[in-house]
Amino acid sequence: MKRKLEISELIFKIISYTLLTVFALCCLYPFVYAVSASVSGRSAVEYGSIVLFPKDVQFDAFARMFSDNMFWNAYSNTLFLTLYGTLWSMLTAILGAYALSKRRLLFRKFFNFFLVFTMWFSAGIVPQYLNYIATRKVFNAAGIMDDKWLVVIAMGMAAMNIILLRNAFEGVPSEIEEAAIVDGASEFQVLSKVYIPMSKSTIATVALFFAISRWNGYFWARQMISNQNEHPLQVFIRLRLEQYTDPEVIAGWNETFAADSVIYALIVCSIVPILIIYPFIQKYFAKGVNVGGVKE
């Protein structure tokens, strides 16, 4: 009896390790391949003879990209959108979530429904597009000619994140708030000195969610930002991919490295900064999904 138990557990353990190893390697492989292909010589990349390790190492593809002003421009645009976009989203979300977390708020149910309904029903991309076009006209009339600000202010708000914050604020013990009020704290001081410090980890998680969606934003940035110099990195990568996989461009290619290497180099450059900060943000990333339960 005992033996049979041990055998079944052992078999399961072996299966687990094997499949996990296979899956983990599958997850890793494309990145390794991208790095190898970005630094390999032209013929090796074009004939597809690279499997894992680079051949005829060159760094011209990287050099070519680093000397491209548009690349640095795109990077700084992405940083701009991520920084200001996250700040704006966090500001509105924290203030709104704080107000929603208060039981004394009148029409609280209505306001909650106002948020949650946008999670059930979204207008879809065409109405959103028409709406953004109309917004752009209003912005231009108000003297804001930069499409970047339209992206920062109008996009990237998510009801889910506000609900996460609201739940965290609801978890703050009311005694602490009362003590602060007795000591003469105003509403804004209660928020900044009591609520924000006490829900730091949820705030970090939500900020991370906002920042990631801003960093990754592609579709609306491409649709709404008309000036090429204002394109963020994701749009830049896509445009370069479209350019360098064009048969005509490839046919007329006469560099020492393959056109593909430039794309792989671009992919590597867009992942590396995230890999660098990954160890610091990982715990918030993992925490985020666990606080995801929504309650009304």
């Binding site: 065409v126 109405p127 109309a134 992942i271 999904v289």
Partner: protein, 355 residues
């Protein structure tokens, strides 16, 4: 509840009459002048309501006004006149899409079917795999080893959709006279899974591969990350439960069935509702980035169909924003019914509900 006179009346001993109690007088006043009291409360507490304003404005302008634009599906579309002034056209666009009998209607039905198929496959394959991964993670006793595995499997989640689709495009790209095909196409060819012609033409140009590429890249991207929540539920199970089951002679499968599964069922239900809720809301961005004219047959979904028909994509003939809005309206209404339906069923079945 029985209403008693003492709740709202009090006895005046001097004059020997019943009077309305002061508390009830306030209550009556509030009832009579409800909106004045609302105004006074808001004015007294104006800071709190001021905090609410930016968020409400953002949602009003860019969520609810977009929904207002959606009403264009009932109006004669016109690129110059705003929706409010367009002429009413009733359900003509819906009729045209559903029973039009022309290519537009065929394309719409194809897009609707593709939307359902892509999301249904996503549910069938994308949903169970994270749970299985979480079970496997649980088998690894050493924390260091488990961290390594977890970090590796979360890694693809950190790429943006653009980077992920660029990588996929490059890995299965077509070959030409001077350049070879993508490494995965090569591998599949040498394994004998596909012929040289198919591989060389580029898998993304072949409609019969689009769904597999879409699902596999989806699993590659998010299975590891999605397993976090299930893993958290599994490690919360007390070791004594396993021991008790072992003493009762349960082997590994029986432990899974009678210990693990019941413990993580509520998590599974919640995640399933979320999943069903966003069933029709599938990532149009990913489809837009992966599809091309050759693969419309299997790849075109309602969002991308509407995107093309509205003319916002730029190239090609478009049927107008009214048609596009009508298509999205149907998609979104079905989506909303699915969320509410899934939520109601879950609430009845297991007392777990999301909203």
């Amino acid at each position: 509840m029985k209403v008693r006179a003492a709740d709202f009346l009090e006895y005046d001993k001097e004059n020997q009459v019943y009077r309305v109690s002061p508390e009830q007088a306030v209550r009556d006043d509030v009832e009579k002048h409800y909106w004045r009291h609302v105004g006074v409360t808001i004015l007294k507490d104006w800071r709190l309501y001021l905090m609410l304003v930016p968020m409400l404005l953002v949602f009003l302008f860019w969520r609810y006004l977009s929904m207002y634009e959606l009403l264009g599906c009932f109006k004669v579309s016109d690129s110059v006149v705003p929706v409010s002034q367009q002429l009413f056209s009733g359900f003509s666009y819906f009729k045209r899409l559903l029973v039009g009998g022309d290519t537009l209607s065929t394309e719409f039905w194809r897009a609707l079917r593709n939307t359902f198929i892509l999301s249904f496959y996503g549910l069938c394959f994308g949903f169970p795999i994270p749970i299985i991964l979480a079970l496997f993670f649980n088998e690894i006793r050493s924390n260091a080893a488990r961290s390594v595995y977890q970090v590796l499997t979360y890694l693809p989640k950190f790429m943006s959709t653009v980077v992920m689709t660029s990588l996929v495009t490059m890995l299965v790209k077509q070959g030409s006279l001077t350049t070879g095909m993508g490494i995965i196409s090569q591998a599949m060819e040498s394994l004998g899974l596909i012929s040289h012609e198919v591989a060389n033409a580029g898998l993304l140009n072949n409609p019969s591969f689009f769904r597999s590429i879409y699902q596999i890249s989806g699993i590659w991207e998010s299975a590891g990350y999605d397993s976090i929540v299930f893993f958290a539920a599994i490690i919360a199970i007390s070791p004594t439960s396993y021991e008790a089951a072992q003493i009762d002679g349960a082997d590994k499968m029986a432990q899974m069935r009678y210990v693990v599964l019941p413990s993580i069922l509520s998590t599974i239900v919640i995640m399933l509702i979320t999943r069903i809720g966003s069933l029709l809301n599938i990532g149009y961005e990913k489809v837009l980035l992966l599809y091309n004219t050759n693969t419309y047959v299997t790849a075109d979904v309602v969002s991308t169909f509407a995107n093309r028909q509205s003319g916002m994509a730029g190239a090609g003939a478009s049927a107008g924003t009214g048609i596009a809005a009508a298509a999205e309206m149907m998609n979104n209404v079905i989506g909303m019914l699915l969320v509410i339906g899934a939520n109601t069923i879950a609430r009845k079945a297991s007392n777990t509900s999301l909203y």
